[in-house]
């Protein structure tokens, strides 16, 4: 017990590590969660895009088209200069930039009268090309409407616009399908998935720092010379690791629930508990990996590097940062061999659970079990290695 307490004191004395890895990185996760869209409950709203319109025409028709495009989207002001357009598109400040060329309105009316092709509109699209395609449909749809009205009903530009706006009134209703269970807010799922990185790196770094100070030559010699058995010695260390993992988990998950999970606590407790369990298992796995690294005698620097690189690789491979649906199949096959994958699976599963029943919850529990196995393996290997290493060192 004394050994265990000393370990915890060592852990607590490294305040800067705790401040950077544990406190700040997990705060970031919560901030990301806060900035995530969280209005899936109730009604659906079409995804708004950042749109800019450069109207070189200035006619009535181009004004109507501009009004229509900006409706329901976020307007971004972009000056009609090459550099400004480059900035806007390269930095993804606008997803869709529409340029209405000079004489477009007049050209459209002319073309409609003669039944020929109307002048083209120019667009710049940033790399989210899906959004660009969506707005393309919207823009060409409305412009085709203007063309059609001019071709059939005719009249002045104002008449054409009035007729088109009249027909373009209203939009398709999209409602969310009622499901038995209240869904988990997206913000908490996003924050929980991001949390895989701070949890892994903070648990592993803290443990590695602890192990390296315990493993310093004079300290290690004194420890090994004591009448303590290898089992008791390793268990105390393991206990300290588990405590660090619990602290990491409690801080991360507690923060998420406190800031983002108010409604989920009452509305969907089972899903929230699943997310909590997933993060807890992941924290324990991280601690066991840290324990293994310490038993292997990895230096503080190397452990630090390992914590960051492994943490990032796992979070990326596990789809925690981009979503599992974006991972290509080959990588998904590899991802099965990382604990982060199983955690993301549980978080995503809990977030989209249609109803709470044994049939939906149990498979997720199974995934958690797989994840836990990674931790058990690491601990067992660590214990065996620690035993044989200390023997050779004594001998």
């Amino acid at each position: 017990m004394t050994t265990f307490r000393t370990y915890l004191e060592i852990f607590l004395s490294h305040r800067v590590y705790i401040a950077i890895y544990l406190v700040m990185l997990s705060l970031v996760g919560v901030i990301i969660g806060l900035s995530a869209y969280s209005g899936t409950t109730g009604e659906f709203q079409v995804a708004p895009a950042n749109v800019a319109v450069i109207d070189r025409d200035g006619s009535e028709l181009s004004g109507a088209l501009t009004r229509h495009v900006l409706q329901g989207n976020n307007q971004v002001e972009v000056a009609d200069e090459k550099r400004a357009i480059q900035d806007a598109v390269a930095r993804d400040q606008v997803s869709y930039l529409l340029v209405i060329p000079e004489g477009w309105g007049e050209g459209l009316l002319d073309a409609a009268r003669r039944g020929t092709q109307a002048p083209n509109l120019e667009t710049y699209v940033s790399y989210y090309s899906g959004m660009g395609r969506l707005l393309d449909i919207e823009v060409t749809g409305y412009a085709d409407g203007l063309y059609g009205m001019a071709a059939t009903l005719g009249g002045s530009a104002a008449n054409v616009i009035a007729a088109t706006d009249d027909a373009w009134e209203g939009s398709t209703q999209v409602s969310m399908v009622k499901q038995a269970a209240a869904p988990l807010p997206t913000s908490i799922a996003v924050a929980a998935e991001f949390a895989s990185y701070p949890i892994f790196s903070s648990a592993m770094v803290c443990i590695a720092v602890l192990m390296s100070s315990v493993g310093r030559r004079p300290v290690r010699d004194r420890r090994l010379a004591s009448p303590e058995t290898a089992r008791a010695r390793n268990l105390a260390l393991l206990g300290a690791c588990v405590t660090i993992a619990l602290v990491t988990w409690a801080w991360n998950f507690g923060l998420e629930v406190a800031v983002l999970g108010g409604s989920a606590l009452a509305g969907s407790p089972v899903q929230l508990a699943l997310v909590g369990a997933a993060l807890l298992v992941y924290a324990l796995v991280s601690a066991s990996v840290g324990f293994l690294a310490g038993q292997l005698g990895v230096s503080e620097n190397a452990a630090n590097a390992l914590a960051n690189i492994l943490g990032m690789v796992m979070s990326f491979l596990g789809g925690a940062w981009t979503g599992l649906s974006l991972l290509p199949d080959e990588l998904l096959a590899v991802a099965h061999f990382t604990p982060a994958y199983w955690v993301t699976l549980v978080v995503e599963g809990a977030a989209s659970m249609g109803e709470v029943s044994a049939a939906t919850v149990l498979p997720l529990m199974g995934d958690l079990g797989v994840c836990a196995l990674f931790g058990v393996t690491a601990v067992l290997v660590g214990l065996v290695l620690g035993r044989s290493r200390s023997r050779t060192q004594v001998a």
Binding site: T172, S175, F194, N304, N308
Partner: protein, 389 residues
């Protein structure tokens, strides 16, 4: 000075920490990114979803709706945005939606107005874009129908020829997609640049170790060096130069690897890339030297700080990129004060702009930061050396 330089290079090469951070780390992550982005580019362009359609009397009665649904679900067409499953009743469709078989289902009311029902699961997993697409397509169907009905009400005679409908659906207005930037915007360049910036920041540990070895507090070796008959600034400059050369070389290899193996685009200005790397690694070395003079600082803290700063370059996935964009939009000064942001911006400027001013600004910012760090480091270095002598 040469001797310090040599010692610095040798000890860094033996220590391996720098090799891990500035070379192995970007190479490993590049492999991961390569795997990930093979699907990412595709994922941004495909907006597909599975749509259930309730095929009842109202649906078949709605003019042109079935044709449109078939057009957007035709596997051969480039307009395909969904796969369609038909259901006999709204009840059956709802059951299928709750079971996760379809992302959304479509019903038509007695007035012929289509209505979309989306599932929470699909929105939380794939975002709002796929459903927004379906809604948009249905919108344009409905609007065109309104328009034709309006024409029919005012001038029924022109509807009989079919020309009226053709005027609305003939795709008379087209959009052409232009590129404003020197190279087309790419979603994955951002990840690679942020990764390079992180590797640069992590390289600061190398300079930190080199400088720390010179401190009188560093043990017998440090004490001997402090007493040596060589001006301190020479040792310092030598050690820093050594660290800088090592980090620069590692990063250069990493960039060559990204460019050669992963095919990451760095623009056409090769000397520019080299200058950007040199400036970034100089800044990192200067920062490392400053950290080295702080006795309580450990290498883990440097990497922790770098991890944190990397968040604001958008390394950690889509949500962190949104956060970084939001900060840049609301408080640009704060974003620009991040040295790692300046590093990524150098590469951005080379890739996207045809004028060099943005690139030069970022390089200048990096050099100013390096000078400030160096000045602070040398100030602190003087104090520690006199204190202990």
């Amino acid at each position: 000075m040469l001797a310090s330089l040599r010692t610095s290079v040798l000890s860094l090469a033996r220590d391996k920490a720098l090799l891990v951070w500035a070379l192995a780390f970007p190479v490993i992550m590049t492999f991961i990114f390569m795997g990930m982005f093979s699907g990412l580019q595709d994922a941004y362009t495909t907006v597909g979803s599975t749509l259930g359609v309730v095929r009842d009397e109202s649906y078949t009665a709605a003019v042109g709706l079935d044709e449109m649904i078939q057009a957007i679900s035709d596997p051969m067409s480039s307009d395909r945005i969904c796969d369609v499953t038909y259901y006999e009743s709204a009840m059956a469709a709802e059951v299928a939606a709750n079971a996760g078989e379809v992302d959304a289902y479509l019903t038509v009311d007695s007035a012929g107005t289509p209505q979309l029902h989306a599932t929470n699961a699909s929105v939380s997993q794939n975002g709002r874009l796929p459903i927004s697409f379906l809604a948009e397509v249905l919108d344009s169907y409905q609007h065109t129908r309104n328009a034709v009905e309006k024409v029919a009400a005012t001038r029924p005679e022109i509807l009989s020829t079919g020309e009226a409908i053709g005027a609305f659906t003939g795709d008379a207005v087209k959009t052409v997609r232009l590129t404003a930037t020197k190279n087309p915007p790419s979603a994955d360049a951002r990840y690679y640049y942020a990764l390079l910036a992180m590797a640069t920041g992590m390289g600061a540990t190398a300079a930190m170790e080199s400088v720390r070895r010179l401190l009188p507090t560093a043990g017998p070796l440090g004490a001997r060096q402090a007493l040596a008959a060589v001006p301190r600034w020479r040792m310092l400059v030598g050690a820093l130069l050594g660290a800088w050369i090592c980090e620069f070389a590692c990063l250069l290899v990493a960039v060559l690897f990204m460019w050669g193996v992963a095919g990451v685009s760095f623009g056409s200005d090769t000397p520019g890339v080299v200058v950007a790397l040199a400036a970034s690694s100089l800044m990192a070395c200067a920062a490392g030297a400053l950290c080295g003079t702080v006795t309580r600082m450990e290498t883990g803290m440097v990497s922790g700080i770098t991890c944190l700063l990397s968040l604001f370059t958008g390394l950690y996935g889509t949500s962190s990129q949104q956060l970084a964009d939001a900060i840049e939009a609301t408080a640009p000064a704060l974003a620009h004060a991040n040295p790692l942001w300046q590093t990524t911006n150098c590469f951005y400027a080379l890739l996207y702009y045809d004028t060099p001013d943005a690139f030069l600004e970022s390089v200048a910012a990096l050099l100013v930061m390096a000078l400030v760090f160096l000045a602070l480091a040398s100030f602190r270095m003087r104090r520690t050396s006199y204190d202990h002598l």
